[in-house]
């Protein structure tokens, strides 16, 4: 198997945590992702393990999110924005990142924190490699602009 589970565990965990903002649940979903990945051996030979891992994780997070929405919200639960404050530690850059759309933030997380190759990202988002490169470039340009603006 070309994907090293040890290397990917933390990355998938970050991805899940970013999606659902719950540490225990994120770890459960991470483990569920790998269990499903290991049990579906036919995907291993297709050379798209990383793509497959993120797809499973994304689907599981979406399911978890839908289930969570149906649960009754308790008083001490805060919305996702507060969690973002917790995740984003660099205030200036964090503010710039928060101005991005959810999809753009996710792309930044995957590309620069999880170091997912552009080829895999393009497959995940269903666009060509060139379009993905252009999207990332545009996001970075906006990020730099906002970042410099907030610093100045």
């Amino acid at each position: 198997m070309s994907v090293d589970i040890k290397d990917q565990y933390d990355k998938i965990f970050r991805y899940c945590y970013y999606k659902i903002h719950d540490r225990d649940k994120a770890e459960d979903l991470t483990q569920e992702t790998f269990l499903r990945f290991l049990e579906s051996s036919h995907y291993h030979d297709m050379g798209k393990e990383l793509h497959y891992l993120y797809t499973i994780a994304g689907n599981l997070c979406a399911d978890a999110y839908h289930r969570k929405k149906t649960e009754e919200l308790s008083e001490d639960m805060s919305d996702g924005k507060d969690y973002e404050d917790f995740i984003l530690t660099n205030v200036a850059l964090g503010n710039a990142i928060k101005k991005l759309t959810a999809e753009e933030q996710e792309i930044i997380l995957l590309r620069y924190v999880n170091e997912v190759p552009i080829g895999v990202l393009s497959e995940l988002y269903g666009v060509s490699r060139f379009k993905m490169s252009r999207m990332i470039k545009q996001i970075l340009t906006r990020l730099k602009k906002d970042f410099k603006g907030s610093e100045g």
Binding site: I5, R23, Q31, E39, S41, N90, L93, I97, K144
Partner: protein, 657 residues
């Protein structure tokens, strides 16, 4: 994106630590290995079937291509498809043989050189065949024809003074016809080739056997006399030949062919006083050779299987087959050759090795089985000094069922070994399985002294040569984990290596780790160690500093010692203790010291050398050093021989202390 920006983005995100990563990774490793094993089994059947189907299709396509449709009278392909012209050096036409597209052959045809003109234009190759005596002579219609996209070749050779030129033209039709054949053949070849590696991968080898010292020579003789050992002359050497030889040797009725052959090679019978038979031509050796070569199969142990059923038909046949099967069992028992039967039984679900019924076949099942077996041992029960670690009743029952089933299959008592082999075949190998310390965290301390589950792993490692692997020290791995550990301690994420639990990091921690290292290399347990049990158990259970799942292994010991050296007053450097191991390596290598410290002779002085010195000091019989290694290792003191201070000196040098 520049590096600064990338780093800033990376650092902008902060995520919590995972809680159960390592537990999960251990389980995932097992699941992954079992999945791979399952995956490996299924495709053999499918791919072999696919290969057979592909070959069938290819053959069908080949046969179909042979029956081409009959050409009509006006079809272009009715023209001569291949024109071969031989032109003599003197310009005269020579008789040639010309093949015609529809299969006819015309011999002794005279072709005028002017009749064939070749025109090559760019990449398109065109041969214009002009009508003339050549075509007329071949019986073709007299008309001018252009066969476009044909291939044309010319071969010129000098024969004495004459130049002979041979030209031939193959039309596109012919090329397509042959290319289809070639394509079909290539497809079949590739399909068949794909199946071959799978089949060879499925070949089974025994983990190890208990052969007699000179038996390999005997087996070599058997292999070099393949024709002779085919006792019944059916063209194969198999268990039936062993049985025939057994029957002849034991005065049972055999066929004339077998009797003739046995007499020819002087095979002796059991009561014969004179014995001229070569040592390799005995049924015992043939059985042993066959069991090792092929592995045990269920049919070898069944009196109903075909070799025993068909060979003899007289009244003594049942006795012969019974006794022969007993002989096969006996040799299989001695060789420990029954493992393939256990492995096959596990795969087919005949036996369940998941004795604790947690849904996973892993090391815990082995421990439960081992403990149950030890508990049921009569000599243990009768000895007053045995306190059994009681396992759940259901687990004990499953272990008993497993044992009785396995014994019925192999009729031997090697299930503990076979269990270990199965575990190693179906789950990943972990070196700590062969270490007593691994089980200390699993078996409660009060029972630990009565159980040694590591012994079967040790035995396996020793007999299969894995022992070296167990104590291999990887410098790069150590370097990474040490740096990471120091950073974690500095950040307060992990505790300092206070292994003797006295509340301070000092020289006594270093010495305690040294004693512990000697203990694990010499197989000593907590009760046999100089260390207090509290300290010894702390090292075996709470000191997994490199997070590899094993507390107190060689990496943990080295991390402890290096950390102590950094944090105690033994430093002569004002650097304040650099944690970067790599950056200090250059300083050490620059030292022009004839006693280099390169103990293992790999050209570098690193932690592996310090480990080797400690291993040598702990167990010199096991870890022997050459004279040059001893010389280079003695880096501390004035040639006072090897001692712990030499290892410590290398460690301090590596840390630039």
């Amino acid at each position: 994106m520049n590096k600064r920006m990338k780093k800033a983005v990376q650092e902008s995100f902060r995520f919590p630590e995972t809680k159960h990563k390592y537990e999960f990774l251990m389980q995932a490793e097992v699941i992954s290995a079992q999945e791979m094993q399952r995956k490996k089994r299924i495709p053999v059947v499918f791919r072999l079937s696919a290969a057979a189907a592909a070959c069938g299709l290819a053959l069908g396509a080949w046969a179909h291509l042979g029956s081409r449709s009959k050409l009509s009278e006006n079809d272009f392909r009715d023209e001569p498809a291949i024109v071969t012209t031989m032109i003599g050096g003197n310009g005269e036409s020579q008789p040639v043989t010309t093949a015609i597209g529809n299969g006819e052959t015309a011999g002794a045809t005279t072709v005028n050189v002017s009749a064939v003109t070749t025109v090559r234009t760019g990449t398109a190759k065109t041969t214009t065949v002009t009508s003339g005596s050549a075509l007329t002579a071949l019986g073709a219609k007299s008309r001018s024809t252009t066969a476009s996209r044909s291939d044309h070749s010319r071969v010129t050779a000098n024969t004495n003074s004459d130049t002979v030129t041979v030209e031939y033209t193959i039309t596109n039709e012919e090329k397509t016809y042959y290319m289809k054949h070639l394509g079909t053949f290539a497809s079949a070849f590739v399909m068949g080739g794909n199946a071959i590696p799978i089949a060879s991968a499925a070949e089974y080898k025994l983990p190890y056997t208990r052969m007699y010292p000179n038996e390999s020579d005997i087996f070599a003789d058997i292999e070099s006399n393949a024709e002779t050992v085919d006792i019944n002359r059916d063209g194969f050497f198999n268990m039936r030949d062993c049985y025939d030889l057994y029957c002849y040797s034991n005065h049972y009725q055999v066929s004339d062919t077998v009797a003739d052959k046995c007499r020819k090679y002087g095979v002796s019978k059991i009561d014969d006083e004179e014995n001229d038979t070569p040592p390799w031509l005995s049924y015992t050796e043939l059985i042993r050779y066959f069991l090792i070569k092929e592995g045990a199969k269920a049919e070898f142990f069944s009196t109903e299987s075909y070799p025993y059923r068909d060979t003899l038909t007289d009244t003594y046949a049942p006795f012969a087959s019974d006794q022969f099967v007993s002989a096969v069992f006996s040799e299989s028992d001695h060789l420990m050759a029954g493992y393939p039967l256990i492995s096959a039984a596990y795969r087919s679900g005949l036996i369940d090795l998941d004795v604790n019924a947690d849904g996973l076949f892993d090391i815990n099942d082995y421990i439960d089985y081992y403990v149950c077996t030890t508990n049921s041992n009569k000599s243990n029960q009768n000895s007053g000094d045995f306190i059994p670690w009681e396992r759940p009743e259901a687990t004990v029952q499953r272990c008993n069922e497993l044992r009785s089933k396995a014994e019925a299959i192999t009729r031997d008592n090697w299930l503990e070994n076979y269990f270990v082999w199965c575990l190693l075949e179906y789950t990943p190998f972990r070196s700590e399985y062969a270490e007593a310390s691994y089980y200390n965290s699993i078996i409660p301390e009060k029972y630990a002294r009565y159980y040694s589950p590591e012994r079967y792993f040790e035995e396996y490692c020793e007999t299969t040569g894995i022992e070296e692997y167990l104590f291999t020290f990887n410098t790069q791995k150590f370097n990474n984990c040490f740096d990471e550990y120091c950073k974690d301690v500095a950040a307060g994420r992990r505790s300092a290596p206070d292994i003797n639990l006295d509340g301070v990091i000092d020289r006594s921690d270093y010495e305690a780790s040294d004693i512990y290292f000697g203990d694990i290399l010499n197989g000593r347990n907590a009760s046999q160690s100089e260390l207090p049990s509290r300290v010894w158990n702390n090292i075996t259970s709470n000191c997994d500093f490199n997070n590899n799942g094993t507390s107190g292994d060689v990496y943990d010991i080295m991390i402890t010692q290096m950390y102590v050296l950094i944090n105690t007053g033994e430093s002569s450097s004002s650097s304040g203790g650099s944690y970067n191991y790599d950056s200090n390596m250059g300083i050490l290598l620059d030292i022009n010291n004839p006693r280099s410290g390169d103990v293992n002779g790999d050209g570098e002085v690193d932690m592996a050398d310090a480990v080797l010195i400690m291993q040598y000091l702990a167990n010199p019989d096991k870890y022997q050093l050459t004279d040059s290694a001893m010389y280079n290792a003695d880096v501390e003191g004035e040639c006072d021989g090897l001692n712990t201070s030499d290892a410590s000196a290398i460690q301090r040098r590596l840390l630039n202390l």
